[in-house]
């Protein structure tokens, strides 16, 4: 059932992301920054919350009037701040849920990623709890409804000596002390949320918690505009002698409450606990073959730390040298954290296919696609080429389906991640394999399955990151064209036109390539 839903959802996301690329450009596409945008909204909520707390009266008798003051008397500052507080919270829920759906659809929730997925579940629940506890503080009819429903829901568990819903029976039964407890809950639960958000990212190296400034400003401006157009307002004051009737729920946070009213506490507990358990076990029941983890060959490792710096999941650590060689550190791979992407191998300066003497090996490599194997794969891809112009396409197994590109002029090398490609292989393709041009492709920019493969590859080819592509390699004969699973037609077109350009006399081809080089280096498949 779930896999049947997963692939259509992946298709939908890829389509939406393609539109996002077209509209925002890949560097500002909001779909690539869902988690970071959720963090950004958290900071808005936190900042506005601190300001609102200054004005909030923490007594049950005056809380409502203080919120009314915030909303109406000081609408120009505190009122807008209240609206920002509400809408950025709502945006955070939307972003977190879409983020969860997207990671699932893209199959990025199991293997070494189980930890982020697993810790994301309590993070989501704390987020909902933050929202609900915030609505209590207004102490209007909505707060009364939420408080009583929530307490009745908790009472069903039967762990309290007396129903805590009894605190909301009559006007006199709700004390300032209990109301202050609700306020402290709304302060400490967000702190716990922040802590869990930090835990959530513990196993992700270089996690993006800040969206690009352009997106951040745009998000804030949009929320600010919404706050001006539709200020957040309260219901009537809470009155425990009356029953709330028509309620304007914030469905992002409060959608479960009507289910409580319809189904009752037992069914809602079953739904929430059962749903959470289902989400929690998903990474462990997914039967995906585990790729062999990278292995370190100490004889070739000088402890340069590049694999450590480039690993997207923190699977490589540097420890004191153990083999007596005169280097300070050596790399160690934690197999449980390794996704087998090979980015570490692409980062290793000893990953070079040029060596002819002795065993071909490097400091860190994938057991199933080690240095000699990779060189053989490249040689095998090039050997059958018989066309006038020979092009080799390096790409990854998560982007466009590459084998279909093969022809008499085009050879294909599929890697677990394009970041696995050491720049020396590009050099080798030109200088030893007799290739006229190289196309480097992989997941869409911003959509890299292994997170950092696209980024590191671009920087290595551009000479901004070690190991950099050597200066002797003709840049005008390299085309970078990121292409996701839906972008094969565009990639096919790119490879075709590139091959045609290369087949023209040198001067023409160079001039043509120069005109498009800047676009090709940063854009997707054209």
């Amino acid at each position: 059932m779930l896999p049947r839903l997963q692939y259509p959802l992946k298709y939908i996301f890829l389509r939406l992301e393609a539109w996002g690329d077209a509209l925002f450009g890949s560097h500002y596409n909001p779909f690539y920054y869902l988690g970071a945008l959720a963090w950004f909204n958290f900071w808005i909520v936190a900042g506005t919350g601190i300001y609102l707390y200054v004005f909030l009266d923490t007594s049950v008798t005056h809380a409502y009037s203080s919120v009314e003051y915030i909303t109406h008397e000081q609408w120009y500052l505190a009122g807008i701040t209240r609206s920002l507080h509400r809408y950025s919270s709502d945006a955070m829920v939307v972003l977190a849920l879409v983020h969860l759906l997207r990671e699932w659809a893209m199959d990025r929730y199991h293997g070494p990623r189980w930890f982020a997925w697993f810790t994301g579940i309590p993070t989501l629940w704390l987020l909902f709890f933050c929202g609900v506890s915030g609505y209590w503080l207004v102490w209007d009819m909505l707060a009364q409804y939420l408080a009583i429903d929530a307490m009745e829901w908790l009472d069903w568990v039967g762990i309290f000596s007396e129903p805590i819903a009894n605190n909301f029976l009559t006007e006199g039964s709700l004390s300032d002390r209990f109301f202050s407890l609700l306020i402290y809950i709304h302060i400490f639960v967000p702190l716990a949320l922040l802590f869990l958000m930090w835990i959530h990212l513990l196993r992700i190296a270089r996690a993006e918690t800040n969206p690009p400034r352009y997106l951040a400003i745009g998000t804030f401006a949009a929320l600010f505009a919404l706050s001006l157009v539709q200020p957040a307002v309260s219901h009537g004051p809470a009155d425990l002698t009356k029953v709330p009737s028509e309620l304007h729920l914030d469905w992002f946070f409060l959608g479960l409450f009507p289910l409580f009213d319809i189904w009752g506490p037992a069914a809602l507990w079953a739904l929430t606990v059962g749903g959470s358990m289902l989400l929690a076990v998903m990474p462990f029941v997914r039967r995906a073959p585990k790729k062999p983890a990278a292995v370190v060959d100490l004889a070739n490792c000088n402890g340069c730390t590049r694999c450590f710096a480039d690993c997207p999941f923190g699977a490589v650590t540097m420890v004191p040298r153990t083999d007596g060689l005169p280097f300070e550190k050596e790399a160690v791979v934690n197999p449980d954290l390794c996704t087998g992407c090979g980015i570490c191998m692409g980062a290793c300066p000893t990953t070079t296919p040029f060596r002819t003497k002795g065993e071909l090996s490097c400091g860190i490599q994938l057991p199933d696609l080690d240095l000699p194997t990779l060189r053989n794969v490249l040689d095998d891809a090039v050997r059958p080429l018989s066309g006038k112009t020979k092009v080799v396409v390096f790409g990854c197994e998560h982007g466009a389906h590459l084998p279909g590109l093969r022809s008499s002029e085009v050879g294909v090398v599929v890697l677990p991640c394009t970041g696995h490609l050491a720049p020396s292989f590009v050099d080798y393709a030109f200088s030893r394999a007799g290739i006229d041009g190289v196309v480097i492709t992989g997941c869409r920019d911003g959509e890299c399955f292994h997170r950092l493969g696209v980024r590191w590859t671009e920087e290595r080819i551009a000479g901004k990151r070690d190991p950099a592509l050597r200066g002797r390699v003709p840049r005008d004969r390299i085309r970078i064209a990121w292409a996701g699973p839906l972008d094969l037609p565009k990639l096919t077109h790119t490879v075709k036109t590139f091959t045609e350009e290369l087949s023209r006399p040198d001067s023409e081809a160079r001039a043509e390539t120069d005109r498009t080089a800047s676009v090709a280096m940063t854009g997707g498949a054209e």
């Binding site: 509209l23 925002f24 450009g25 509400r86 809408y87 709502d90 945006a91 939307v94 409804y145 009745e152 009472d155 000596s161 007396e162 129903p163 819903a165 009894n166 029976l169 009559t170 745009g218 401006a221 949009a222 929320l223 505009a225 919404l226 157009v229 539709q230 957040a232 425990l240 002698t241 009356k242 029953v243 709330p244 009737s245 028509e246 309620l247 304007h248 729920l249 914030d250 469905w251 992002f252 009507p258 009213d261």
Partner: protein, 166 residues
């Protein structure tokens, strides 16, 4: 940046914000019918003990350490409590509640919500908190006029042994 792109981005942002703005308060949810009122049965009552207390003899008391010489020897466990509630002669609630606590020595808790139409109603409540097999230990009847959306609490004070409406 291409102006057309900017316009497109603005349209997307506006659409997303419209969605957030709308669902943050709509559609309205009708929680409770406006022509109804609510009776909340809320009582916390320690029922009688399962076995009656027994007075210790002087000999028994003498054997006990001085700080434990309580005259009455009582078992901890209490009997379950039964409550019946009728509105206008119709049974709207009947339920047994076990005493709380691991030793079943705590109070029995009742918390029930009974929606009724607004207007005047005859309310009758009965409670059995002893080991008797029929009849009730406490009974109460009252007529109450409930305004639309009024919340009326039907409680019980153990000190006076009387039900009350609040």
């Amino acid at each position: 940046m291409n102006p057309l792109r900017l316009v497109g981005q603005a349209v997307i942002a506006a659409a997303v914000m419209t969605g957030i703005g709308y669902f943050s308060q709509a559609p309205a949810y009708q929680y409770f019918p406006p022509d109804h009122a609510l009776i909340k049965l809320s009582l916390s009552h320690a029922s009688q003990r399962l076995e009656p207390c027994r007075e210790r003899t002087a000999e028994e008391l003498a054997k006990l350490p001085p700080n434990m010489r309580r005259k009455m020897d009582c078992s901890r466990e209490r009997v379950p409590t039964l409550v019946q509630l009728d509105v206008d002669g119709k049974r709207v609630f009947e339920g047994w509640r076990k005493p709380s606590g691991l030793s079943k020595d705590g109070a029995s808790q009742f918390y029930e919500r009974i929606p009724v139409t607004a207007g005047t109603h005859r309310i009758a409540v009965r409670m059995r908190d002893s080991a008797r097999s029929d009849g009730f230990d406490f009974e109460y009847e009252a007529t109450a006029t409930l305004a639309p959306l009024q919340s009326l609490v039907l409680g019980f004070r153990g000190e006076t042994g009387q039900f009350n409406l609040r």
